[in-house]
């Protein structure tokens, strides 16, 4: 692995619920280099919360503790809110599942990208406009001039996700967090978006944290995979070695997936162990 962009050590996130404290994340550690790191888990495994903690975007009721969350020279845990403004969207970008909820419905997509650029740089509005149009081209949108003037409701899911990627990349971040960024897309569109992400990661040397519930997809797309269950990393593997997973949870998940080429009368159901 190349140099470390981000280091997370013993991250713990808990909530004080009505039924007593609830531990959403229970001691997660990893280092991210210039690579595609997958975080896989089912709903409630703490994978999204881990992503949020890196940007310090956990809900106010969350209690976040860690030995450290280090982004280069910045200690994310103790950084001032002002420092965080310079990090969110600038050094770390976040792409979420549904572009419909991430984009402003009453502003054209081009202006939104230009606005993101102006917030992070001191560009003039005409520079920002140019940059935004160029970014639309970079995420392989045909006819960027026309799309620039379109509103989010006029876009398909795949196009909306390209817009989100363009907006996140306009400030040239070091790290991109994609939280179920392709889950709402059709398979053929998903493939295009993944190819695009892959190209951008390789060309720009980004560190990508790819959060997903889809083990098969992560196995093909990422370099390394963390498998999370109930707030813990149960196993870390090179994506190519997922087939040799040893943890019963990972194996159970792989088994439970319907396969195109293997016919089985019933799908094996995961048996959960309290000790995991």
């Amino acid at each position: 692995m190349s140099e470390t962009l981000l280091s997370v050590k013993d991250l713990r996130i808990s909530f004080n619920g009505a039924a007593g404290p609830f531990d959403a994340v229970r001691g997660v550690s990893f280092d991210l280099g210039r690579e595609k790191l997958g975080i896989v888990g089912e709903s409630g495994s703490g994978k999204s919360m881990t992503g949020r903690a890196i940007m310090r975007l956990t809900p106010p009721s969350a209690l976040v503790k860690a030995e450290h969350i280090q982004l280069g020279d910045v200690d994310i845990l103790h950084a001032s809110e002002k420092t965080m403004y310079g990090i969110r969207g600038r050094r770390i970008g976040l792409i979420m599942q549904d572009p419909k909820y991430s984009l402003n419905p009453v502003v054209t997509v081009g202006e939104q990208i230009a606005e993101a650029y102006r917030i992070h740089t001191r560009a003039t509005s005409s520079q920002a406009r140019e940059k935004a149009a160029a970014m639309l081209g970079a995420v392989q949108i045909r006819d960027p001039e026309r799309v620039y003037r379109m509103y989010p409701h006029e876009m398909s899911g795949g196009m909306g996700q390209r817009i989100m990627i363009a907006m996140m990349l306009v400030s040239e971040p070091e790290i991109l967090i994609a939280d179920e960024a392709t889950s709402a897309l059709d398979v053929t569109v998903r493939l295009e978006i993944l190819n695009l992400l892959n190209e951008l990661v390789e060309k720009r040397g980004l560190g990508l944290i790819f959060i997903s519930h889809d083990l098969n997809l992560v196995r093909r797309f990422c370099d390394r995979v963390l498998i999370m269950y109930r707030g813990r990393v149960v196993e870390t593997l090179n994506a190519s070695e997922l087939g040799q997973a040893t943890h019963p949870y990972t194996k159970g998940l792989l088994e439970a997936m319907p396969r195109i080429h293997t016919s089985r009368k019933r799908l094996p159901v995961l048996k959960r162990d309290e000790a995991w």
Binding site: E42, T188, H213, L253, A256, M257, P258, L270
Partner: protein, 260 residues
């Protein structure tokens, strides 16, 4: 014997210049006791077909028969007893302020189902829901439990046909496995016929015998699932869909083994 027979079904949304054909001259039939798949990408019209069958949207067709009954214009009470639907997102399909028990009793009351309570208990047993959950609200249930409630509700009227609209795509894979197994069990137990919409070729390959592949409102081809997965697809689009599913889908070694 076909229990659903559709000939030249079209559904149009909008009027004049804005008119858009969501379903464009679709024909297929589903045999009793089989699981028939409708595969395609979003916007291909697969869900609209289900909605046209139930009358949630208006469709024009030469033939639209369910259990030998013409349902092009009027659907009797009996139709709604025989045909039930399960939706993608159980959280949106359930009433947020009704308990599990009330979710089951409400349709029973509307449809005048006799001995509703006994049926309710039966339905809960069929889907494997514990009685301890009876008085919970949807937000107090897990995703899998919610979908089980939605399925139990569909079973209340003792249907012959279930229209399944992406019934597991909002669920975790481990839960998806449980729900798909449940569908298999229910089919065996009650002799149900399924018409299943899915974008996931893995799910379709697991559940269905035959499937139609849709694109832009039209059926591109209808074929046996065995043929579909063993390279028997004729149309370019179907091949592309399979390739895309495989590319970021299964273990390459498994695919190679299957093709050998």
């Amino acid at each position: 014997m076909p229990v659903i027979k559709i000939d030249n079904l079209s559904v149009t949304f909008g009027e004049g210049v804005d008119a858009r054909r969501a379903v464009d001259g679709v024909s297929f039939s589903v045999n009793r006791g089989e699981t028939f798949g409708l595969v395609g990408e979003s916007g291909s019209g697969k869900s609209t077909i289900l909605r046209a069958i139930t009358g949630l949207v208006h469709g024009d067709a030469d033939t639209l028969q369910v259990a030998s009954e013409d349902v092009r214009t009027k659907r009797g009470r009996e139709f709604y007893r025989k045909v039930q639907m399960v939706f993608q997102d159980p959280y949106e399909a359930l009433h947020p302020r009704h308990t599990v028990w009330r979710q089951l009793m409400e349709p029973a009351r509307i449809q005048g189902i006799p001995s509703a309570e006994a049926r309710g208990n039966q339905a809960l047993d069929s889907v494997g829901l514990s009685r301890a959950l009876l008085w919970r609200y949807p937000h107090q249930l897990s995703g899998g439990q919610r979908q089980r409630v939605a399925i139990a509700r569909a079973l209340m009227s003792g249907p012959d046909i279930l229209l399944l609209d992406e019934p597991t795509s909002a669920l975790d894979v481990s839960v998806q496995a449980e729900i798909l197994n449940l569908f298999s069990d229910l089919q065996e137990e009650h002799g149900l016929t399924y018409l299943m919409v899915s974008h996931d070729l893995g799910v379709v390959a697991h559940m269905c015998k035959r499937t139609a592949v849709m694109q832009a409102g039209k059926i591109v081809e209808t074929l046996d699932v065995d043929a579909l997965i063993n390279g028997g697809a004729v149309q370019e689009y179907t091949k592309k869909l399979i390739a895309a599913s495989e590319a970021y889908g299964e273990d390459p070694a498994e695919i190679a083994a299957a093709h050998r």
